[in-house]
């Protein structure tokens, strides 16, 4: 259950009373397993395990608290480590007591509930002392109110005190100042002995609560001195701890409880204080001190909609110490998922925007959008402008789409590809960039073109922005020191590698199998049944109990039996008995196997978990259609559905808009109504927003998702089921790359188990590809081999450079334009083309990470001569092919390789040998026709880099015919002539493309691509059905075509001497986003980023003709504002669009 960091805490704890590190970790894991099992299977099933776990938990907590935590002569490392372990033990006790409360009678219940509440507060303080603030929130969240009708003054005061403790524990300070204790105390003279005791105890509780409040105020910056709070606690402790015992001391009863909590608070507060956001983060040297301080105060307190961050997590603390308050200019932050990476970035950004602008790079548009939202909320009080640049590297010449004139106190958020484009188009803008944040920076190690592009972008930024700081972040970089050293060498500035393994949640790793005893018994029945049947019958289905093997230490590395536990799961696995006759002996041999084992198991177990109140994320990494296959097969009980939280209003808004886009009901929402969320790439934006909201809001207790979700959005759950060990689409990948990608994807998925602030522990259940009957240790080993990824302690991998082999070729001068790979051609194009503002090649190449790694390996720098060779490739290419001189510039701008750009140029010349002045008046539709004429003339080997058969096959049966014609897609001959079939295939693309761009429904597109009538198009979303096909075409194929259209635009830009008609300039984005005019595109970009709704608004508020891109932006924004302010909607659709925009 424990990661490397938390395991290291166990080893920091000194040994007492035979309390050994491994035993302790094992005991805590076993207790968690027993408690989880009690939740799933019922207490009766695991009462023995629970009884066994309890004394162990008590022993751990008591030993560590008395011997270490309370011993102020010990060093803080030991004390904090012990506090963590003790907090874990007590938090598990609290969970156990919660279960016990559900079982007990009323009288006993009261005592147990009181113990449980006390345990939660105690554990919360220990967690905070141990720097696990998020876990404090997780344990204190279960603190229920003890309100009853007959509460005494002591009860009320204790309740009020615990409320304050709760506020601190959950670090929810936004409702400051807190309510004072609402009841009056009396003078001693007015009280009898009993009332005096009651009044005194109540005052003591209020005193402790007040000290807690004062501390919260100090954390939120509204109280200057911490000393007065500490002194208040000291006084409280002093009066209750009487060094010289006398008969009239007050011992026991509530006095002890108050004393104990006060002692823990006294230890805890100064420790937390060292990590206080308001008091620790320095104001930036060139900023407005007052404004920045105001930001820190706002951020510490938070609001109802945005969690406050009064205390820095260890990751952020380290960053502040090393970078903001230290001398390091650059930082590589390697920290696990969920450990506060985003807040580290926000702090860095908050400082950097004081005297410049910030570039924030993220690998996907979905993350770009999430970062935009998070930063907009987090930096609201600084009035920082967050400018997202959505899109990949499809070429755009719109001034509104260019990174130009970034102001101080602004942040541009984009993908590396988009930034690459920006660096090609407006390199000068980056000179005053003050900070580059690169989230998921391990992208530079990808061997596809994405890695090299990202690396070149970073290198260029280092050279363009000399004063810029760099913050590279990743959850999986194993060698941050290498990256830090690279930054140091490339910029000459100090860099630090923060390798922080701390994470706020623990994950128990389990493997699903079947219970051997049950299998043997049930299989025996099945054999009997089969024996009585005709020999034609070879199979017999039967059911057996599931079983789960868990590792009690952490990763599945141990080969010691005591580190594993088997737990029966209270639901049945579907299995099949198979018999085969031995041809020699004639005897039947019986074996058994799973019946659709992986998916059936994911369905059965996730259902059981949901019913048990465990929020579960099911990853089906092998196939993007599985979520839609599995989701509808789950039938949650009505009573459970009734008790789920209501869906948020955005879900209803998205439901309407999804139907509007699809032209029919969305199956996604049918499933949401049944409590099931699905998340795949083949979904509408509105559908994704709705399922994310439903899962976060717990109105859907189960989510089925594909592996891509694991790498993107933050949707943590208590349990994660990884259904199968295979990942999807490994075609053409080397086995080492597949394994690396598999480990990365599946371990990332596993990392989603546990929700900081909600569930401190989570568990991952890996479903192996083949069922294992758990019995002896051998069977566990058998399972271990199937789920090899669980053996990794974390998902860190050494990050290399995707440019390494390219640089080797450069050094060996073996690069040739006609023999280079697609990726190399793209790199050459990005590096080697361009105009006068381009940087010199040699310094760029020698500043790359690849060059650093080469030097580290004893290899020489790239010489000027070698670099010139790369530059010459473009020239040679032009000379050898007779291409126009500007072609390399066009290729570089479009981000395409020379050959493809030349093919586009030549094809266009073949289509239109003479340009006409009429073309200035062409519409987007005219330019689309022109593009379609060009595209089928491009040699398929060149086109296939972006539009492979796998993307084209859903457009029509004509394209599908090319699915297996691998030879066809190898042809890169520029003189290639299209075949008739290929031309016919491309002719079929026009109709669905027009429907897409004209704003018709997905159902209409599905009707065309499936050659079915509208009535025949169902709502189903499983593989091969019309709707997912249409989505694959619209979101996949047309997105790729937009890149080619970008190439066409770049060529046209050169041909037209930069005088490009607006309709042509709009073409790439119109294709990608489904718009048919500059006006509708402007509504999409500046009105509402949904396809059909933007058409709806464009039809109602058509933009005047003749406006430039800039003018269209202003016009649309004005028209939108005016409409939103007027409150006048013309139909239901417009009302819902308004809701969407305003939400």
């Amino acid at each position: 259950m424990f990661d490397d960091y938390s395991k290291s805490l166990f080893s920091d704890v000194p040994e007492f009373d035979g309390l050994v590190q491994d035993d302790t970790a094992r005991a805590l894991s076993a207790a968690y397993l027993a408690i989880t099992s009690a939740r799933i299977n019922g207490v009766a099933e695991v009462s023995e395990d629970l009884d066994y776990a309890q004394p162990q938990l008590r022993r751990i907590a008591n030993t560590l608290i008395f011997h270490v935590v309370l011993d102020d002569e010990r060093d803080s490392v030991e004390r904090q480590a012990a506090a963590f372990v003790a907090a874990e033990a007590i938090a598990l006790m609290a969970e156990y007591l919660t279960i016990a409360t559900e079982q007990s009678d009323t009288e006993r219940d009261k005592a147990i509930r009181a113990a449980e509440r006390f345990a939660r507060v105690e554990s919360s303080l220990l967690y905070m002392f141990a720097r696990y603030d998020a876990c404090s929130g997780g344990v204190i969240r279960g603190l229920s109110s003890s309100e009853t009708d007959d509460q005494s003054l002591v009860d009320l005061a204790a309740e009020w005190c615990f409320e304050q403790m709760n506020r601190l524990g959950s670090l929810q300070l936004f409702d400051l100042p807190p309510k004072e204790f609402p009841y009056m105390f009396s003078d001693a003279d007015d009280l009898g002995p009993r009332e005096l005791e009651e009044d005194t105890v109540s005052r003591l509780f209020v005193e402790l609560g007040t000290a807690t409040n004062e501390f919260c105020s100090w954390l939120s910056g509204s109280q200057k001195q911490l000393e007065s709070t500490i002194s208040r606690l000291d006084s409280l402790i002093d009066v209750l701890a009487i060094e010289k015992p006398s008969a009239d001391s007050l011992f026991g009863y509530e006095y002890s409880r108050i004393y104990h909590l006060a002692v823990l608070a006294r230890i805890c507060f100064p420790s937390i204080g060292k990590r206080s956001l308001v008091h620790v983060v320095p104001t930036p040297p060139n900023g407005d001190d007052e404004a920045y301080r105001s930001y820190l105060l706002t951020r510490a307190v938070g609001s109802k909609s945005s969690a406050g961050r009064p205390v820095l997590w260890p990751s952020a603390m380290e960053f502040v110490r090393e970078c903001l308050a230290g001398d390091n200019r650059h930082c590589i932050a390697s920290m696990p998922t969920g450990s506060g990476k985003s807040f580290v970035a926000e702090l860095a950004v908050s400082q950097a925007v004081q005297d410049g602008w910030v570039l924030y790079l993220a690998p996907t548009n979905a993350l770009t959008e999430q970062i935009r939202t998070d930063l907009s909320t987090g930096l609201a009080s600084l009035d920082t402008e967050i400018v997202p640049f959505i899109g990949d590297h499809e070429y755009s010449i719109f001034s509104t789409d260019r990174v130009a004139q970034m102001n101080t106190n602004s942040v541009a958020v984009m993908t590396p590809e988009k930034c690459s484009l920006a660096l090609r188009l407006s390199p000068e803008v980056f000179s005053n960039c003050s900070l580059v944040v690169f989230d998921e920076c391990h992208l530079i190690g990808e061997s596809s073109s994405r890695g090299p592009v990202a690396e070149i972008v970073l290198t260029q930024l280092m050279m363009r922005a000399e004063e810029c700081r760099f913050l590279l972040m990743s959850a999986i970089v194993q060698n941050p020191d290498d990256l830090a050293e690279w930054l140091n060498e490339a910029t000459g500035e100090d860099s630090t590698a923060l390798s922080i393994k701390w994470r706020p949640t623990r994950t128990l790793r389990a493997v699903l199998g079947v219970d051997n005893e049950s299998v043997q018994a049930k299989a025996s029945d099945a054999i009997k049944s089969l024996k009585g049947k005709n020999k034609r019958y070879k199979k017999k289905k039967f059911k057996s109990d599931y079983s789960m093997a868990s590792n009690l230490q952490g990763a599945w590395q141990s080969d010691q039996r005591e580190n594993y536990a088997l737990t029966r799961i209270n639901c049945l696995a579907s299995l099949t008995l198979i018999r085969a006759r031995n041809p020699v002996t004639g005897k039947w041999k019986y074996t058994w196997d799973g019946d659709s084992w992986v998916n059936q198991s994911a369905i059965a177990v996730s259902r059981l978990l949901a019913i048990s109140g465990v929020q579960t994320l099911v990853f089906t990494p092998a196939n993007k259609h599985y979520p839609f296959n599995n989701g509808p097969k789950i039938d949650l009980p009505e009573e459970l559905l009734k008790d789920l939280p209501e869906q948020q209003s955005i879900v209803a808004t998205c439901r309407f808009l999804a139907k509007f886009e699809l032209g029919d009901e969305s199956q996604v929402f049918d499933l949401l109504d049944k409590g099931i969320a699905v998340h795949t790439s083949l979904m509408l934006e509105t559908e994704k927003i709705a399922v994310e909201s439903a899962f976060r809001g717990r109105s859907s207790p189960i989510m089925f998702a594909t592996g891509t979700l694991a790498q993107g959005l933050n949707l943590p759950a208590v349990a994660v089921i990884i259904a199968g060990s295979k990942i999807g689409d490994t075609r053409g990948e080397a086995s080492a790359d597949v394994k690396r990608r598999k480990f990365s994807q599946l371990l990332n998925a596993a990392g989603r188990a546990g929700r900081a602030g909600f569930a401190n522990q989570g568990f991952v259940i890996a479903v192996p590809d083949h069922p294992v009957a758990f019995d002896q240790f051998d069977s566990i080993e058998q399972a271990r081999n199937q789920v090899d990824y669980l053996q990794q302690s974390d998902n860190a991998v050494p990050v290399r450079s995707g440019l390494e082999s390219f640089l080797d070729d450069v050094a060996e001068q073996s690069l040739r334009s006609d023999q280079a790979s697609d990726t190399e051609l793209q790199i050459i194009s990005v590096l080697g083309g361009g105009g006068e503002e381009q940087l010199e090649l040699q310094p760029i190449l020698n500043s790359t990470f690849a060059a650093y790694l080469r030097r580290k390996n004893g290899e020489a720098n790239i010489t000027k001569k070698q670099a010139e060779r790369v530059s010459k490739i473009g020239t040679e290419f032009i000379e050898s092919t007779g291409a126009p001189a500007w072609l390399t510039i066009a290729a570089q701008r479009a981000g395409l390789d020379f050959f493809l750009t030349l093919a586009i140029s030549r094809s266009w010349a073949a289509v239109r040998p003479n340009l006409s002045s009429e073309m200035g008046n062409w519409t987007v539709a005219d330019w689309l026709n022109e593009l379609l004429e060009i595209v089928f003339r491009i040699p398929p080997g060149l086109l296939g880099q972006h539009m492979p058969a796998s993307k084209l096959k859903f457009i029509s049966r004509e394209f599908k015919a090319y699915e297996k014609q691998f030879e066809f897609f190898t042809n890169r001959d520029l003189d290639w002539q299209p075949t008739k079939d290929w031309q016919t295939a491309w002719a079929t693309a026009k109709k669905p493309l027009e429907l897409w761009m004209n704003g018709d429904t997905i159902k209409q597109i599905a009707s065309v691509v499936s050659e079915a009538s509208l009535d025949e198009i169902g709502v189903e979303r499983t593989g091969g059905k019309p709707i997912p096909k249409a989505l694959a075409v619209s979101h996949g194929a047309w997105s790729s075509l937009a890149l080619v259209a970008g190439g066409f635009l770049a060529v046209a830009e050169q041909v037209f001497n930069d005088e490009v008609p607006l309709a042509l300039a709009s073409l790439p984005m119109c294709i990608k986003y489904g718009c048919n005019s500059p006006g509708s595109l402007a509504w999409f970009r500046f009105g509402v980023r949904l396809r059909r709704p933007s058409h709806h608004l464009a039809n109602r508020f058509p933009a005047p003709d003749g406006l430039s891109d800039e003018q269209l932006k202003d016009w649309v924004r004005k028209a939108r504002r005016s409409w939103l302010q007027s409150g006048e909607d013309w139909d239901e659709t417009s009302t819902v669009i308004r809701d969407f925009i305003t939400q």
């Binding site: 009373d17 309890q54 004394p55 938990l57 008590r58 022993r59 907590a61 008591n62 030993t63 008395f66 011997h67 007590i90 006790m93 007591l97 016990a100 006993r108 009261k110 005592a111 147990i112 009181a114 113990a115 006390f118 345990a119 105690e122 005494s152 003078d187 001693a188 003279d189 009898g192 002995p193 009993r194 005096l196 005791e197 009651e198 005194t200 005052r203 003591l204 005193e207 006084s235 009066v239 209750l240 701890a241 009487i242 060094e243 010289k244 015992p245 008969a247 009239d248 001391s249 007050l250 011992f251 026991g252 009863y253 509530e254 006095y255 002890s256 409880r257 004393y259 104990h260 002692v263």
Partner: protein, 295 residues
């Protein structure tokens, strides 16, 4: 006929409370006769002569002292922490507010007065171990929790730390079901059984942490960890009317279930003839004692 001697002849009265308490404890130590019996499941500590006049007087002094000390401690705490001044208190009034006057409602007696009296007497027995180790044979009591007024508190009635061969923890639960001692044993044993579970562990940890502060530092470090896992004693204190007395050495399953040696499961019963009247008398003696000065 000669008049019976006035009570508290040898006591100085409330102004001499400190020395009176010492005298009362010595008197009780001398007067009370202890007898130990055992059965398979537990040990019984029988206390005789509690009903004797001198014992009751001494007990009354101790109980008055307990009230006075509790008040004094609370006032001192309030003064130190909340800077509160107060007038001199009238102990007679305070005693009356705890045990009532001559006319107390039976329900109050059952639910509040008698449970408090019995809890305080149980503490007295443990306190007497300072003079007679038989009251707590497993070791010297280094510190114990105070007598509380709130008899409805859900905590254990007594927690003490003792030093015998090892450091140990005593847990006591007091039940004054005058007409049903068996239920008293059952309820007390049930609650003490919770010491073996998480439900009481947290309470004990807090009490031990506070009690430690009153023990010399050298010993404090030894009183750590789950020392009570290895060494602990249970004291069910059960009081009843003699008319309803039961055989205390009958084997009891709940006592058996407490996982410590028989000699450390000490049932302390007190069967008092006409118990309610005796408690009335005890209260009357308390009132008489605090009024003594004005005579």
């Amino acid at each position: 006929m000669p008049k019976p001697p006035k009570p508290f002849r040898k006591y100085g009265g409330p102004t001499k409370l400190v020395s009176d308490v010492e005298l009362a404890l010595q008197t009780l130590s001398d007067k009370l006769v202890l007898r130990q019996e055992s059965c398979k499941t537990h040990t019984v500590l029988l206390i005789e002569n509690f009903g004797a006049r001198s014992s009751l007087e001494a007990a009354a002094v101790y109980l008055v002292s307990a009230i006075a000390q509790n008040i004094e401690a609370n006032l001192r705490l309030r003064e130190a922490l909340f800077d509160e001044d107060h007038f001199a208190r009238d102990l007679a009034t305070d005693v009356k507010r705890v045990v009532g006057g001559s006319k107390v409602d039976d329900e109050v007696k059952t639910k509040e007065r008698d449970p408090w009296l019995w809890e305080a007497i149980s503490h007295l027995f443990v306190h007497l171990s300072r003079l007679n180790s038989e009251f707590h044979a497993m070791g010297e009591v280094l510190a114990k929790t105070s007598i509380k007024f709130d008899v409805r508190d859900h905590g254990l009635d007594l927690i003490g730390i003792y030093e015998g061969a090892e450091f140990g923890l005593s847990a006591g639960e007091c039940k004054a079901y005058l007409t049903d001692p068996s239920r008293g044993i059952t309820d007390a044993a049930n609650k003490l059984g919770e010491v073996e579970s998480n439900a009481r562990d947290i309470e004990i940890r807090a009490a031990v942490n506070q009690l430690r502060s009153s023990i010399p530092e050298a010993k404090q470090k030894m009183i750590a960890g789950s020392f009570w896992n290895n060494e602990r004693s249970y004291f069910p204190f059960v009081c009843c009317d003699d008319e309803y007395s039961t055989k205390w050495t009958t084997n009891r399953k709940l006592m058996e279930a407490l996982e410590i040696p028989v000699e450390q499961k000490v049932l302390v019963p007190l069967a008092i003839p006409k118990a309610r009247k005796k408690f009335d008398r005890l209260c009357a003696l308390m009132r008489i004692y605090v009024a003594k000065e004005s005579e």
